[in-house]
Structure formats: structure tokens, C-alpha cells
Assembly symmetry: C2
């Protein structure tokens, strides 16, 4: 076993995504904040396309990546400048935090060599959540960063035509820091960033922002390999994961998580009940509030940005799952259900909710109110158990908001298409428009092995209806643990679903990328097409080299002449006029309308004009598309 | 080069799909017609699940597969029994039919050894289309077959609760032959089956039937390999393709097609303009009506069941594509656009439409009215060019119906989610509810390499809205030619999308499979879960052997006691009553309502009851789910 304190060899993927380069855009406020994005340069005079970038410094050729050191503390100065935090002697790491029974650490994994000895927390009487600042009218650097990030650093063209159906969302043409503040103050968006995770690049989750995606990583009882999990985190964020959740359930949970958070440019979520369960040897009934609370502090000090808390799995709801086809499929939900049945008491998470909130506000950790009673099959969708829990999550949302603590709401699951909208509408109504964060939903159960697709279909729809973040599903769902390739496929599937939702909602900037790619495709600029796509490597790999390779710009033959010169083109004006007469354009132009002489003259002119165009077409080489100029 | 007449070694995949066995169900009319389906047997007492089966005799262990002989003429007797067809000396096969300039066949592929020398056509004055029979009030054996096939051979439970949103479709609980006749008579469904393709198992394409999918196969200019194409046809139908289209564009188109049709249990469609173009050496301007007509006859005699005809690409519409980002992406559309521009005349397909119809009615070939001006990018969706063509397709639909010729309408393409519904509504309105047959649509352009998914999202939605058939897209779309694996992924993706649409529409029998699979999943009956899935092999391959393997049936702890005995369950009756009082159940049960003494007594009873249940839970082993009995 290597010396526990020697540098660990962890290989992660670095270097730019093919065709992109990292840029840092100065916030227009002039504050000096620089927002990370990436730009895709195209051939010739085509303007570069700037895209949202979750990959962090790993894709920055100028960055010096040292996994043993962690990422730079991007937000440290901002956090300290607010003057409302203090360092303190953090909790001692205990052997059970890593699933070990004694002080002997052998059999564990190497500790992260640069653990912060004294974590931060709010000074007494202070609340460090972004929601608290927002409600005090303060625009934080995090909010500025988010505004610039969502705009992709440019003013939108004044003549941009909005085109979409947002079902009542309020997406502005330009995102301002003030807009961000207002959305966070209302609870309609969250900026998840624990004061002990200064390495993260701020991002917003909310209906009026770009739809976000989450990727799950984490070890299992079988494998406890730090290198694999850190690599998966870097890999998932490379391809577009906006947050990751560390769902480790095996050993070395604490140490593994430290490596991940210190090296993660995106917010990190967890389900603390998993680690708490490990501390009681996997016996749900032995869980106590004290053990759970201690686990929350432990994870808060490390810097976890959001906690999934299954406080909606109440004793009274557990029997409702008895009539289901697939019962309770949520791991956290099962754990709490067992506890409730064993003790026949109300859930301790529900009972101690306000105590949990006090911890959240001291570190700025957001709630992800868990859907422990989500449906795990089409048959169980939208049932009494599911909506009873949602009703309670609404109640808890308002209780958390009374303390200015950020909240998002987790959602299903397995839902057939015709039942998806009801989920969105109920959630908006009951939870005061808190951001919705769904797992898919899968729209049919019959395709294990393809559940990234069955759920991608539901995710695109519920994203369109207003869901703020989509938790990815990989091809291994229901079957096994995802490997690296599965993680990538899951991430790209969810990026395309989220993007399709942005387009459908009429997000002002979404279509830019589609248009640039389609133009490149039309002009056979293959390299540009690949570089603009979500996965340039796969696109190139699939590309058949025997396909046409013209690189020159092309233009439709007709556009050379212009519409005025095309004798047979029935102009748009004529069409409009004909439509007003409730006629087809052809009959409108018929002799009866124009007068016989005029019609005949028109016809002759048309015939002559057509002969001329036919000749011109032949001269030009008989191609539909020609080089410009 | 092998002797042109020796048997060809063509390897196709035979044998049952894992977990399924072929069954033949006698039509309830007692006519003796037996409909092919497959049944999935499950463990223990679980009832077998019967599913729709497109794989033909290839998955029948009792069938004797001989590619050189072709499939049995399932429908031959029915066709002849109608007494309205005659054999005749068919057209001679010409060298240009196979892309060769002289009589020397070397360099070609082996001919199918059992070509029918004298094809069938309608007797003079007769119309052999299913629509004609339907309009005369005749229920054909094909219609019977379809009815039984769509019902999956059983009466639906009388108490089945319909649950869906069909947007005005008319899906009956049970499909009767009379219902099929009526749908075909109205033109709302088609049964594509050329009298020269008696090997096909009849199927219906229509909004009120199960949503169908099509897989494209066919060679290219580069590869001309009969074995590959026949294998792809068998492979695609094995995994669920309801029809296939042979889109060959290279050499040996005629001979390749013969092998395919003779061995295909599903309808086969083509785009005749492709072969016509080969006959004029690839020069679109040299196409003539005569060459095209001759090609139609050639393909009709072989047995093609539906023709894509781009008669909607009219001269006046071509300039409308000039302002597009991706112009004209349809190959057939481009060909016709070039022809129109070269001659500056109206499309010869449009001008000769009624002549084409005369051919269709003599063989019972269905129109697939082509969407030559479909949008090839999000930017071009729902534009003037696209809907102008649709308007013309509506006109042509009614013209074809005047001759009792079956019609379906092709559709887009690339359409963002918020514009999908408009497509369905316009098509229903303009085309008299003729079946809609779309290519996706893709809901974003930015994910080449994943376009089976970007289009699966749109396909599921437009299928839900009423589209009758979905043309698959593979991961290679826009990039290269699909191989065998791509074909399978495309088919399974489109099967799950079509099935999700069936569920959302409230198709009475759709959910049966999802429920059976979810039950198997819940009970850890892994083998059953795999066998019920669309791709059992992949599901098993992905399955992690370390996951739990309990095989025993399980039941929720609470269901042992039953809801009456759970002290803390707030019963549904109380909930309902509380809801009527516009209160939450909790407050309803509060002391104020019940009276203090009753409330206290209730509380004490509840506490005692809960302690008892807690003890019982402990005795039973502290598990949420227990063996039944």
C-alpha cells in the first residue's frame, strides 16, 4: 500500500474539446469578474460561436492541472469579502466516515493531501445563502457571474425574433445581474454553492435560465476507487454536466468525496442518508437524527453544494405504496420507509426539518427535496403516494424559504407522455415555482438498455414545460453500473434534450448553434459541423470519408436571379392577397381575375421568361447550388 | 465470379428472439386465417405476454428458410380468389434496370433464381386496391388479418380502464374487421400490399392503429452487395420494423430488390425516381415521364407495396427554398427541383399524377406522397416551402382517392418541439386524415452521431399527436451509411418511441407489456425482465451479475396488514372528505373537528397500534418487502 500521504496518480482527461478554445469573458459590469466559456472557430468568414462550458479549467490549455492540489479557489475572495463567515475547528474525521471501524486507515484510499484544516461557516446570527443576499437587495459576484454566463457574453441582436412556447415562463432577451437577483430572491432559481466549495464556477438552476443537466457518479460497495470517480467527474463535466452528484454507497465515502469536491468546477450534490446508513452498518432502523445531523455537518464542511433530503416520505404515505406495481424505487425513500415502519413514528427528517435548515443557512447549501415516493413504472405514475409527497415538499419549500434557504424539488421517474404536464403544473402550483429537478422521466418501461432514450424523450418534454434541471440516465439504468462510455452517452443525450427544451421555450440564444451547424452542413464544411456538435469526436468517427467534400460556399441557383426575376414564382404578395380572397394563388391568377388580355400577356411573358431561365440554368452547369460570387 | 444461376450464399439471422416463441392465432371470424405473433413466457404463474411481431417466418423454428426460394405466398390464394387479376407477360428486364449499359451481366449480382415470369395485374376495368374493396363494403382476408393482428388475438378485458390523450383519434377497445374496412374506406388507414408481393403479412398504417415504424435499407453507389441488403432487411424486421424501404441508389437495383421483396414478410417501399435517375446516368434533367413510367411498371411487377412520389415539388415552390438555411435536403426533392429548373416547366410528376394513379390501382400500390421540401434544419421548420408542398399533397390525396387508391403523406424532418403540433394539425386538415409518415422529426440539429435520439424525441411526440408511421433514423444520420448495429439501434429507438406514443394515446393494450416488465423487475425476475424488453440480448449483456438475485415473489410489508390495520394511515375516505371541506387531512383530523375526547382516544389508540406494528415489523425481519404467503 502506497504511503497514504504521497501524491496520487489520478489520470483525468485534459485539453480542449476538439475545435473549441477556452475563453474568459469579462462581466459587463466592469467588476473584473471573468466568466469561463468556450468558443468554436469556424472556417473563412464565419463568426465564431460561443457556447456554455461546464468543463472547468481542464479544457484550458493555460491551466496547470494538479489533482493533488485541487482547483483554484475562484470564489474565495468574494466569500471573505462579505465579512459574514468565520473559520473554525472543523469536525474530526472519524473512521466510520470512511466505513471503517477503527483508527487504522489501512484498506482505505489515500487522503486528499491538501484538506482545508479549518472550514468556514456563517458567523453567529448570519445567513450566507444567496437567497438571503438576494432578498436584501444585494447583487453578489456569483449573481454577476451567472448573468454573464447565461448570456454567453454578448448582447443579443436587437432584431432577434423570439420564437417559442414557454408555457408561462419569463425568459428575458438579456439576463442581467438584477434579474438573477430577483429570481433567486423569489426562489424561482437557485445558485448552489457552499462557502466551502470556492472552486466552483457559479451557475443557476431555474425555469427562466438555460435548462441544466446533472450526472451521477459514485462508487459502490464493490469498488472503491478514487481515481475512477475523479476521472468520471472530469469526464462528465467535460461533455456538459452542469452539476454532479456523488452517490457513493461503499467505503471511503468521505475521502473520495474530498478528492471530487476539491477538483470539481461544478456544484456537487449528495444524498447524506446514504453515508449515514453506512455508519450504522446498513441497518436503516438504527439511523438516528444525531447520526444524520453529524453527517450533514461533515459533508457541509467538505463543501457539498446541495443535499437530497427525503423529508417527504412520511409515515402516513408509506402504505400508499403498497398498491403499486414497483413500490418504492428510491433508495433514500426505501431507507426512510423502513425507518418509519420500524419505529412507527413520523420520519425524523420531517420532524427535524427546521433543524436541518439551520445547518443549510450556515454554509449556503441548497435543499434538493427528494422524491422518495417517485413512480418506478408507468403503472405507478401520478399516483396518490407520489402526489402526497409532492404536497409535503411544497409545505417544506415554504418553511425553508422562511429561513431564506435555497430549495429545488426532485421529480419523477416513470411517466407516460400524457401525464407529464400534470406533474409540471402541480409542482409549480404546490411548490411556489421552486426549480424542478426530474429524473427523466421515462415514457415507457419496455426498453432497458435504452433508458437514456426512453427518459430523454420525457426529459425533453418536461424541460420544455418548465423543469429547470434534468438528472441524466445512462444505458445501464436498471441493469448495472455505468462505465465511462455510458457516462458520456448519458451526458450527451441529456444535453441534447435540455437544448431542445431551450429552443422550444424560445430561449433567445439557443438556436444560434443549430443554425451555425446546419449552415456548415449545407456548405459541406464538415470540420465545422463536427466542431459545433455536442460530440465532435463521435461525429467525425461516424463520418464516411466517401461523402462529398466540397468546401466552397454554395448558393441556391434561384437566389442568383432573385425572386423578382423568376417568372413562375408566385410572389408572396400575390399569395397573401389570394389568401385574403380565400382562394388558392393559382386560381387567383387565372384569367378570370386578371382579365383575358392581361392574363395572356402574362402567360406569354412567363413562357419566354422560363425559356430564358432554362437556358441560364444550362449555362451555369445545371446544378441546384452554385458557388457564391 | 460465381455462375449467375447458382444458389447464393446469403446468411440471415434466424431463430426466435430470446425468450419468445412464434404463435399463429386463428382469426376469430373462423375463416381459417392464422395471424403471426409472438409470445413471451414468464416464470411461475405469470401469464404469457403476447406481442406484435414483424419478424416473419425467420423467427419460427418450424419454418424452412431458403433465401433462394423466397417466402411462401401467404396471400396468393386470397388474391386469386377475388377473380379480378390476370397474369401477363411482364416487361423485359433491361440492362439499365441494373445500371448496366449492355446485355453483358457480368459485374452484376446473381439474379434471384425463382423470378415470377408472369406477374399479375388487375383485369381491364378492375381496381384491386384495398380501398376499392373497402368502399364496396367488402371485408377482405387482409382486413381480417389486420384486425386480429392489432388486437393481438384476444378480447380485451371488459373492465380495462382507458387512460390516455389521443387528441381526437378514434381508437376502439377492440379492433374488428369491419372497423378496419371502414378506416381503409375513409382513407384514414392503408394496408399496403401489392398483388405481386403475396409473401407479405398484412399490416395497417393509420392513426387509430398501433403506431408503426419503417427502416431504410439499400445499397449505395459504392457497395452493391445483395447479401448485405437481404440480411439488413431480415435484421431490421427481426427487431421490429413494420415496413422497410429499399433506397438503393447504386448498381443492380433491380436484382437486389427482387431478392429483398421475395424474402420480405413486411411491405416494401421505394422511391422510383432514384432508379429512374440511374437510368439516365445520374443527369436529372434527362429524366422523362416515359422513363419514369417504365420504372413504375418495372417495380410494380416485382411487388413494391408503396411508392414515394415527390409530386408536390412544383416549379413555383422551388424558389421558396432559396431563403432556407439548408435548402432542399430530400434527394428526390432535389432531383425534381433540378428538373423543374432545367426545363422551367411544371413537375412531370405533378402533371402526370393521374397517369401514375392508373398504375397504382392496377397493382394495389399505395402512394407515399413525398415531402421533397421538408425542412432539413430547425431554422427551416414550418416554412412556406414546406407547407406549400403540403397543400399540394392534400390536393393530390383527394385526386388519388377519387380513384380509390391508397395514400399516405410523408412529413418532416427537423422541427423544434413547439412547432410539432402544427404539423400534425395542418396535415390532418389538409390531407383529409390520410396517414402521416414522418422522418423523426429531429428537435435540434446539434447532435450528429445521436440523431436517432434527437429524432426519437420528436417522433414520440408526433406519434402521440396522431402520426401513423415513423421512419427511423440511425446514429449515422447526416454522417455515413448505417451498418447492421446502427440498423438495430435505429429500429429499437423507434419501437420505443412508437410504443410510448401508443401508451400516451391510451391504446388499450399497450401498457400490458410495461406492467409485466415492471412487475418482473420489482420481483427480481431478471430473465423475465430481459425477455419482455425490446432488446433482450443487450439488456442481459448490460446486466451486472452482482446485483440482487432474489427470485421469490415479494409483497409490501404494509399489504400484509391491509390498510385497515395501519393506525396512522389516513384513509382515502378521510382524504376525500377532508378535500371536500377544502382542508388538509391532517387538520381535518385535528382535535377541533373530532371533539377533544374522541381525538385523544384516537391518539392513544394510534400510539398503541403503532407500537404493535413496530413490534410486528421487527418480528418479520425488518424488511420493506417480504415473501408472499
Amino acid at each position: 500500500m502506497a504511503d497514504i500521504n504521497s501524491p496520487v496518480e489520478i489520470g483525468v482527461t485534459t485539453g480542449p474539446i476538439r475545435g473549441s478554445r477556452k475563453v474568459y469573458v469579462g462581466a459587463r459590469t466592469g467588476s473584473g469578474i471573468r466568466v469561463a466559456m468556450r468558443e468554436i472557430d469556424l472556417e473563412g468568414d464565419e463568426p465564431s460561436v460561443r457556447v456554455y462550458d461546464t468543463s472547468g479549467p481542464y479544457t484550458d490549455t493555460d491551466a496547470n492541472i494538479d489533482i493533488n492540489a485541487g482547483l483554484p479557489g475562484l470564489r474565495s475572495d468574494w466569500i471573505h469579502a462579505r465579512g459574514d463567515v468565520e473559520e473554525y475547528d472543523g469536525r474530526e474525521v472519524k473512521p466510520e466516515d470512511n466505513g471503517q471501524l477503527g483508527p487504522d486507515r489501512s484498506g482505505g484510499v489515500p487522503q486528499f493531501p491538501n484538506v482545508v484544516k479549518r472550514p468556514l461557516r456563517a458567523k453567529a446570527g448570519h445567513n450566507v445563502s444567496q437567497m438571503h443576499y438576494a432578498r436584501k437587495g444585494i447583487i453578489t459576484p456569483e449573481m454577476e457571474y451567472v448573468a454573464e454566463r447565461e448570456n454567453l457574453g454578448r448582447e443579443l441582436a436587437a432584431d432577434f425574433k423570439r420564437d417559442g412556447e414557454s408555457w408561462g415562463a419569463q425568459i428575458p432577451d438579456v439576463i442581467t445581474p438584477e434579474f438573477v437577483r430577483d429570481e433567486v430572491a423569489r426562489g424561482r432559481a437557485i445558485i448552489p454553492n457552499n462557502i466551502n466549495h470556492p472552486e466552483s464556477e457559479p451557475m443557476a438552476i431555474g425555469r427562466n435560465f438555460l435548462v441544466k443537466i446533472n450526472a451521477n457518479i459514485g462508487n459502490s460497495a464493490v469498488a472503491s476507487d478514487v481515481a475512477t470517480e475523479v476521472d468520471k467527474m472530469v469526464w462528465a463535466t467535460r461533455w456538459g454536466a452542469d452539476t454532479i452528484m456523488d452517490l457513493s454507497t461503499g467505503r471511503n465515502i468521505h475521502d473520495t468525496r474530498e478528492w471530487i469536491i476539491r477538483n470539481s468546477a461544478v456544484p456537487v450534490g449528495t444524498v447524506p442518508i446514504y453515508q449515514a446508513l453506512e455508519k450504522v452498518g446498513g441497518v436503516a432502523e438504527d439511523l438516528t437524527w444525531e447520526i444524520f445531523r453529524d453527517t450533514l455537518i461533515e459533508q457541509a464542511e467538505q463543501g457539498v453544494d446541495y443535499f437530497t433530503i427525503h423529508a417527504g416520505v412520511r409515515l402516513a404515505y408509506v402504505p400508499m405504496a403498497a398498491k403499486r406495481v414497483t413500490g418504492i424505487v428510491s433508495r433514500g425513500g426505501s431507507i426512510m420507509a423502513k425507518w418509519c415502519l420500524a419505529h412507527h413514528k413520523e420520519s425524523f427528517l420531517y420532524e427535524h426539518f427546521d433543524d436541518i435548515t439551520q445547518i443549510m443557512k450556515a454554509y449556503d447549501i441548497a435543499y434538493s427535496l427528494g422524491d422518495g415516493l417517485r413512480p418506478g413504472s408507468i403503472a405507478d405514475a401520478n399516483d396518490e403516494a407520489q402526489f402526497s409527497e409532492l404536497y409535503t415538499l411544497g409545505e417544506l419549500t415554504h418553511r425553508a424559504w422562511e429561513q431564506d434557504v435555497q430549495v429545488m424539488i426532485e421529480g419523477p421517474g416513470h411517466v407516460p407522455m400524457h401525464k407529464i404536464k400534470e406533474n409540471m403544473e402541480k409542482q409549480l402550483q404546490v411548490c411556489g415555482e421552486a426549480p424542478f429537478y426530474t429524473l427523466g422521466p421515462l415514457v415507457t418501461d419496455i426498453a432497458p438498455g435504452y433508458d437514456h432514450i426512453t427518459s430523454g424523450i420525457g426529459a425533453a418534454q418536461i424541460g420544455w414545460y418548465g423543469t429547470a434541471m434534468l438528472c441524466y440516465v445512462t444505458p445501464k439504468e436498471h441493469l448495472g453500473l455505468p462505465d465511462r462510455d455510458d457516462v458520456k452517452v448519458g451526458v450527451v443525450t441529456y444535453k441534447l434534450a435540455a437544448h431542445a427544451a431551450d429552443i422550444a421555450k424560445g430561449h433567445p440564444a439557443a438556436k444560434v448553434r443549430d443554425d451555425a451547424l446546419s449552415k456548415a452542413r449545407f456548405e459541406f464544411r464538415w470540420r465545422d459541423q463536427f466542431n459545433l456538435s455536442l460530440d465532435p469526436e463521435t461525429a467525425e468517427e461516424f463520418h464516411d470519408q466517401t461523402l462529398p467534400a466540397e468546401g466552397a460556399k454554395t448558393a441556391h441557383f434561384c437566389s442568383m436571379c432573385g425572386p423578382k426575376f423568376c417568372s413562375m414564382q408566385i410572389s408572396q404578395e400575390v399569395r397573401d392577397f389570394a389568401a385574403k380572397q380565400n382562394e388558392s394563388p393559382e386560381s387567383f391568377l387565372a384569367a378570370e381575375k386578371l382579365g383575358a388580355e392581361t392574363a395572356e400577356a402574362s402567360r406569354q411573358a412567363a413562357i419566354k421568361g422560363m425559356e430564358e431561365m432554362s437556358k441560364l440554368y444550362d449555362e451555369k452547369g445545371r446544378e441546384l447550388y452554385l458557388p457564391e460570387g
